[in-house]
Amino acid sequence: MSKQYVDLNTPVIEMRNIVKKFGDFVANDGINLTVHKGEIHAILGENGAGKSTLMNQLYGLLKPTSGDILVNGKIIDMNNPRDAIAAGIGMVHQHFMLVQPFTVTENIVLGTEPQKGISLDMATARKNVVEISERYGLSIDPDAKIEDISVGMQQRVEILKALYRGADILILDEPTSSLTPQEITELIAIMHNLVKDGKSIIIITHKLKEIKESADYCTIIRMGKYIGTVDVDEVDENGLASMMVGRNVTFKVDKPEQEPGEVVLDVKDLHCKDYRDIEIVKGLNLQVRRGEIVGIAGIDGNGQTELVEVITGLRKGVSGQVLVNGVDVFNKPPLFGFEHGVSSIPADRQKHGLVLDFSIEDNLILQNYDKEPFSQKSILKRDPIFAHASQSIEKYDIRPKQSEKRPAGTLSGGNQQKVIIAREVQNDKDLLIAVNPTRGLDVGAIEYVHKYIVDQRNKGKAVLLVSFELDEIMSLSDIIDVIFDGQIVASIPGKEANENDLGLMMAGGKKA
């Protein structure tokens, strides 16, 4: 970025030597951060490095153990988010805080509704919302209900909510983790629009590419410690990655050549409908063989989600066949598919992947609780369950350690994903389906996840990978199947794929 809007003489945020302790655990150990007017400042760190803790202090959700926070040059004592909002700080959380059945307008004005006497003045509210959305180029339908709009749109609503409350400094916590590539491009454009208008943005992320594309400066935190602040133009992605994890990171996935074996998954002429009862998978054919990774590349909404749901038994299809090792699992319950060789890493880890109130050890046996050694004659055997958890935590680097009995909901997103991966990879079924397996993970964790997926392939298992990260599809897949409008429109060897051709095919254009 050109930094054309950055005004280095006007620091708007200064966090000085911030220390935050939780008991004996030091989450932030002397962090410094300076953000100027018109600047996009990235905070980079691994899962659990202390990024969110730092931002929660800036937003008044936590109080520093020591250190000062200055906003526009004045020390501010933040006790709660109201203080932060009053100081002109707005935060967009990773998980949106929106009222689903309310409209966009209602959500944006919530808590600061314009009133006419004692009744709501919705007309004025709507006018204000339209005005502010036009001013910052955040186009949005003010009358749509949240439950009907895409994740990218919901994020716009969150940003507008902060702007509506007069925020000059926006904190975006992992803003791209649930966005499609197109939505990410749009978000970056929005961010540039905002700094042009004199706003400042702090973006918490671990996606190096986006930092390179959007940020001016980047502050790196590793295990709670301040590593440094760099000018984004002066470092490359490798440099950022090694500062973040403290070692060299390989982006290349090491994948030996190997001949695929017989067909494990054979989807024939599959039709199914989406939640609106509109046909979304339209006669899809797909094969995955032993020892190969088939990647499904496509823009969200072209039927890949429903395809996986039908294969795993969560959604009823209209017609077709889903053969797993020759057995048709079409429209059978999930357990049937599991017993015939399907394991999967679901897209929504908190909804489908984990029982958040269950301990980690209980989550690790979700499909196997009724099998030996975890139970005998319907009685759970706690010792083997615990031992299984201990070795999984060790082998899959689930942090914190000794967390066997802790509820899964207390883990960070990356570690929750490791629990699911530990479970599904150890199930060791013939077919592994992975949907956005690295969503929200940092490069260190991504490296692990990719290694486990490739390991399964190397062991002769069939792997179906669905991901919105084109890089991930391209680096892992032996075959890339492009999905468009409910059908596989192209199937090309992974080695021959390039981003431009794929992008064109994903958008419905034929390869030249």
């Binding site: 008991g23 659990g48 969560l314 999930p334 357990l335 029982v355 979700l366 009724d370 759970l380 802790r406």
Partner: protein
């Protein structure tokens, strides 16, 4: 966590302490009413205490507590498994009536056969009452809370209808059923009661209640069934993804919960009255069960203690008019206790008092937030 907690943190983070505080507050609020009414607080609470202590007083408490414990277990079990059994009232009523019918018609059967038969009939009736609601929910998505409330009334009128059938109805003038056969009674022998100085309705139902407490704990904590039911209760999507049959689990949970409530009805009938009156209003055992489950934190052993506490309040409360205090005082206390338990989050804010003090940063909320980064 090796870090020593401060007193305020201990208070604010411990569920048990929340309950205790709620109970204390309940009595305080009760005291305020007593003061307003000009009744001696010491006199009323002294009476409450004296009537529930001593061998005889406590035996009354235990007898009162039996149905509360078992129905409390029913509700607690439903909480743990993600269904809200507000229908325990109806299941209690049908269970009680099923036991009465078996106990009257099968009066000739020997005791060791008749008593288990009564229990089984009551549990089956309660379970069926629960399963019907579960079926409506899983088959057509009908909200279980609504259908349960309606089924409470269906049970109520069904019970009155059965009580009016000539074979069941009392031969005398009483608007009630016949008494169940002596072979269906769980009362202790007269000689034993007299020699121990127990209350006249002392019965061994409490042993069944304790056995059920252990059984429920065992199912929830130790069995694969409990694992399944809890998984569905906490997150049915993940449970389904993991291969658990969600609908079957909901039905099983409601059946077990219903069976417990039905058993509560049988224990009450066979240990206390021996017959069922024609109701003019719902007796409220099912709703008491909700209170007991809340006070007991849905933990089976917590429910056991909470049931005895509730029994003590109910029995002790019935003696309050002897000192001129209204019996309804205990309802004020119970209502206040439940109110404070429901809003017990406020106790978690106690540690803020300390946090505000400068230089003594409370390492509060430790683990969760630290990992959330």
């Amino acid at each position: 966590m090796t870090k020593k907690k401060s007193f305020l943190e201990f208070v604010s983070d411990t569920r048990f302490i929340h309950i205790l505080l709620s109970i204390i507050l309940g009595f305080l609020v009760g005291a305020i009413f007593l003061v307003i009414m000009g009744i001696s607080v010491g006199g009323a609470y002294g009476r409450l205490l004296s009537s529930v202590t001593g061998v005889k007083g406590f035996s009354y408490v235990v007898v009162y507590a039996i149905p509360y414990i078992v129905v409390g277990l029913s509700v607690a079990f439903s909480f743990k498994t993600g269904v809200f059994n507000i229908g325990a009232e109806g299941q209690f009523v049908v269970g009680s009536m099923a036991a009465a019918v078996v106990g009257i018609l099968g009066g000739a059967l020997p005791k060791p056969l008749l008593i288990p038969l009564c229990f089984l009939a009551a549990m089956a009736a309660g379970a069926i009452w629960g399963i019907i609601v579960g079926f409506l929910k899983t088959r057509w998505g009908i909200n279980e809370v609504l259908s349960m409330i309606m089924f409470n009334w269906i049970a109520f009128y069904l019970s009155n209808f059965i009580a009016g059938i000539p074979a069941i109805h009392s031969d005398g003038t009483a608007e009630a059923t016949k008494n169940v056969s002596a072979n269906a009674s769980t009362l202790l022998s007269k000689d034993f009661i007299n020699s121990m100085g127990l209350c006249p309705t002392a019965n061994w139902g409490i042993l069944v209640a304790i056995a059920m407490t252990i059984l429920v704990w065992f199912i929830i904590e130790k069995t694969t069934l409990g694992y399944e039911l809890k998984a569905v209760g906490y997150n049915k999507f993940a449970a389904e993804y993991g291969g658990i049959h969600v609908n079957r689990s909901i039905l099983t949970a409601l059946a077990i919960s219903g069976a417990l409530a039905g058993l509560g009805g049988a224990l009450q009938l066979m240990g206390m009255g021996g017959r069922i009156s024609v109701f003019s209003s719902q007796e409220g055992f099912g709703f008491a069960g909700i209170v007991v489950a809340l006070i007991g934190c849905s933990n089976p052993f917590g429910v056991l203690i909470a049931g005895i506490f509730y029994g003590a309040l109910m029995y002790g409360g019935s003696k309050l008019n002897l000192v001129g205090a209204p019996t309804q005082l205990v309802n004020v206390i119970v209502g206040t206790v439940v109110f404070f338990i429901a809003i017990s989050v406020i106790f978690e804010n106690l540690k803020r008092i300390q946090r505000r003090a400068p230089k003594t940063q409370a390492p509060a909320n430790t683990e969760k937030e630290a990992d959330k980064t």
